[in-house]
């Protein structure tokens, strides 16, 4: 599974430009699903199985996109001004390396700062790709790049850019591979444009029209020095979301997830996330409303180029997802 995670996290596909990661995932899942389609917003929708008497139509959503940057202006000396795609953290921006979709590498620099104690604003930053004029700059307005950082395996921990949410995609793919049988009609949806407003989940949930929906995404943790006050820690198992900044999980789904984890002896933790949200927010209010929840993979340093997960948490997330999907759901 680590090879899969490396492959997914080392692919560049910022929001709105998910074609590359979509092809990678399509190849990985093709042999394990009944049919695959791509909708108008680029969501990759894979169906597996059909509804048995005790089954439901279930949608799973893991987002394929990652935060990134988009060029807004190339100046006379070949420097690239940009805007953010998704929640860009200003601290640590300068000095970061980026890679454009055509492979062009660049680094982020900033205008001379008058106050070194403050991070420069997005408007003060620029990308340097080594060009010296507008003409020899290979980047055009509207081109996008993502942060460039290789996957790192520490054994019990893994670090990469875009763990948010390639780790969710990996968990879904691995669940597809290891699942034996399911009474449900399952839709594994690899969504687009989550980081800019849950847009892919909005349209794909309307299209799939499920009876139950789960997102598989990352959540932050409270286990780092002077970190946020939060009960989730790396290594304590997948997190069952109760609430986040944009959604109250359906309590029946929370109970079902917890019951399933206990029965299968899979460690888990209850998650209350104060900021942020996931595709579940959009799925929950699709059409006439869909009971929704979220299986979260605890992740440190979310939206930095080095997001860290725990290997056992990831494996247990797969186990929990498989257990959830393998039996009838009694809400």
């Amino acid at each position: 599974m680590k090879n899969l995670i490396q492959k997914l996290t080392e692919t560049f596909s910022p929001s709105g430009n998910e074609t590359v990661i979509c092809e990678v995932i399509r190849k990985e899942i093709k042999a394990f699903v009944d049919d695959v389609s791509v909708d108008a917003l680029g969501n990759l929708i894979a169906r597996k199985g059909s509804k048995s008497k005790n089954g439901l139509k279930i949608m799973l959503a893991g987002h394929m996109d990652e935060i990134g940057l988009m060029a807004t202006h190339i100046d006379g000396n070949g420097f690239i001004r940009f805007t953010g795609l998704g929640g860009i953290r200003l601290t640590g921006l300068t000095g970061s390396r980026v890679r454009f979709m055509d492979g062009t590498p660049g680094i982020i620099g900033a205008e001379r700062l008058t106050d070194l104690t403050k991070a420069p604003s997005l408007e003060q930053c620029f990308i340097d790709v080594g060009a010296s004029s507008r003409k020899d700059c290979p980047v055009k307005v509207g081109d996008v790049c993502a942060f460039d950082r290789p996957f790192l395996d520490l054994g019990n921990r893994m670090i990469a850019k875009s763990m948010d949410d390639r780790i969710g995609c990996a968990v879904m793919i691995e669940a597809l591979r290891t699942m034996k049988a399911s009474p449900h009609e399952l839709y594994f949806v690899f969504t687009t444009q989550e980081e800019v407003g849950l847009r892919g989940a909005t349209t794909s949930a309307f299209g799939v029209d499920p009876e139950l929906a789960l997102s598989v995404d990352v959540t932050t943790t409270g286990d780092t020095p002077k970190g946020s006050k939060m009960e989730v820690s790396l290594g304590n198992g997948p997190a069952v979301k109760v609430k986040d900044g944009g959604m109250l999980a359906d309590p029946r789904i929370v109970n079902w997830m917890i019951r399933t984890a206990e029965k299968a002896k899979i460690p888990f933790q209850r998650e209350v996330l104060e900021g942020g949200t996931t595709d579940a927010r959009a799925m929950q209010v699709a059409r006439a409303g869909i009971p929704s929840g979220c299986l979260s993979v605890p992740t440190r340093y979310v939206h930095s180029p080095s997001e860290m997960v725990d290997t056992a948490d990831v494996q247990n997330s797969v186990k929990l997802l498989v257990a959830l999907l393998s039996a009838p759901v009694g809400l």
């Binding site: 709105g16 917003l41 807004t72 805007t83 509207g142």
Partner: protein, 352 residues
């Protein structure tokens, strides 16, 4: 080929001088319905006040193309009566409070003249003049001639449309440019497509009209016509202006990305290639903030490939904007040519 001429300029003048603040779009709607009376059998006004027009083409394999332009403009709402014709007010839509004092306005259905008062310089201190006057401290003053106003009435700037050769100055060019352009497209509908046209309401307060219009139409694709700021003045310190959004005189602004949507890349290519093949000037709007009806339309139902095209204009959302006639002419020419060239092949392959 249809084009923008004097008749269209007259219509733009009439539309810019009309008052149509979000939620109270009746005046512009009335003009739209009047202009389209020859197509009345294909028109309905929906629950939110959108004007929805259907013009079916002829021939096989017609795409269902939604075009949308919002009828509303930013303005004010009276929220408190201090007596003697003095009213407290709120802004409707995105408005910079710094630009308000001293502006003449028109209030309510009867267009009662008023002014957003500012204390004259004789009676202010140097220190006071350094401060921004907060909205709470501003009043719309219509004097004791009132009586025909009620709380909840809208108000907008009293600016009258002016034209000076290639220059257009008016309020509400955002988005009367789009409205006239769309009216002309309905009157000259290309036969190769089914045209589904929405003159929308409440764009400036959250793309509300477009959301329900897109749900109702469920089109194959959508093109949104709007107006976008040009912030293209030179920098005071001679540095290169790197955040101009768009530039006057560079033609229609095609959107790649804004706060609310990514344009469908197939449609962006279709527009830019059409412009290149037809020799029409165009520019890409700098990706970044702001948004259009496309933000709501592209998320309707199972998703609708969408793109926006705007006429650039300086000083948007203030009492007076300035634009170039040729940018508008080229916007119309580009959208018309792009529609005529539309075939289902465009969306046959996956979004890429």
């Amino acid at each position: 080929m249809p084009t923008i001429g004097n008749a269209q300029l007259k219509l733009l003048e009439k539309l810019c001088n009309a008052c149509s603040v979000s939620g109270d779009e009746g005046e512009v709607r009335k003009i739209v319905l009047e202009e389209l009376k020859d197509h009345a059998e294909n028109i309905r006004v929906d629950a939110l006040g959108n004007v929805l027009v259907t013009r079916l083409g002829s021939g096989k394999k017609r795409m269902k193309v939604m075009l949308s332009a919002h009828m509303d403009e930013v303005g004010f709402m009276l929220v408190g009566d201090d007596g003697e014709g003095l009213f407290r007010f709120e802004t409707v839509g995105g408005m910079d409070v710094r630009t308000l004092p001293g502006k003449a306005v028109l209030v309510g259905k009867h267009h009662l003249p008023g002014v957003i008062g500012a204390r004259p310089i004789h009676l202010t201190t140097t220190e006071e003049r350094r401060q921004i006057i907060p909205l709470d401290a501003l009043r719309i003053d219509i004097g004791p001639a009132g009586g025909k106003t009620r709380l909840g009435d809208r108000a907008t700037f009293a600016t009258r449309f002016q034209r000076n050769g290639p220059v257009i100055i008016a309020k509400a060019l955002d988005n009367r440019f789009g409205v006239v352009t769309l009216l002309e497209l309905v009157k000259n509908a290309p036969a190769n497509i089914d045209l589904l046209v929405a003159f929308t309401v409440q764009e400036e307060v959250g793309l509300r009209g477009a959301k329900v219009a897109a749900y109702a139409f469920n089109p194959d694709l959508a093109i949104v016509l709007d107006a976008t700021p040009a912030n293209d003045l030179p920098s005071w310190d001679g540095e290169e202006n790197v955040s101009y959004n768009t530039k006057l005189g560079f033609g229609p602004a095609i959107y790649i990305a804004d706060s609310d949507s990514f344009s469908d890349p197939r449609l962006v290519r279709h527009l830019s290639r059409t412009a290149e093949n037809e020799g029409i000037r165009y520019q890409f709007r700098q990706p970044g903030g702001g948004g259009t009806d496309a933000g709501a339309i592209h998320k309707a139902r199972t998703g609708i490939p969408s793109v926006s095209v705007s006429v650039p204009h300086r000083y948007s959302h203030t009492a007076a904007s300035i634009a170039r006639l040729d940018d508008w002419k080229d916007t119309f020419a580009l959208v018309y040519a792009a529609l005529v060239r539309l075939t289902p092949d465009l969306l046959a392959s996956e979004r890429k």
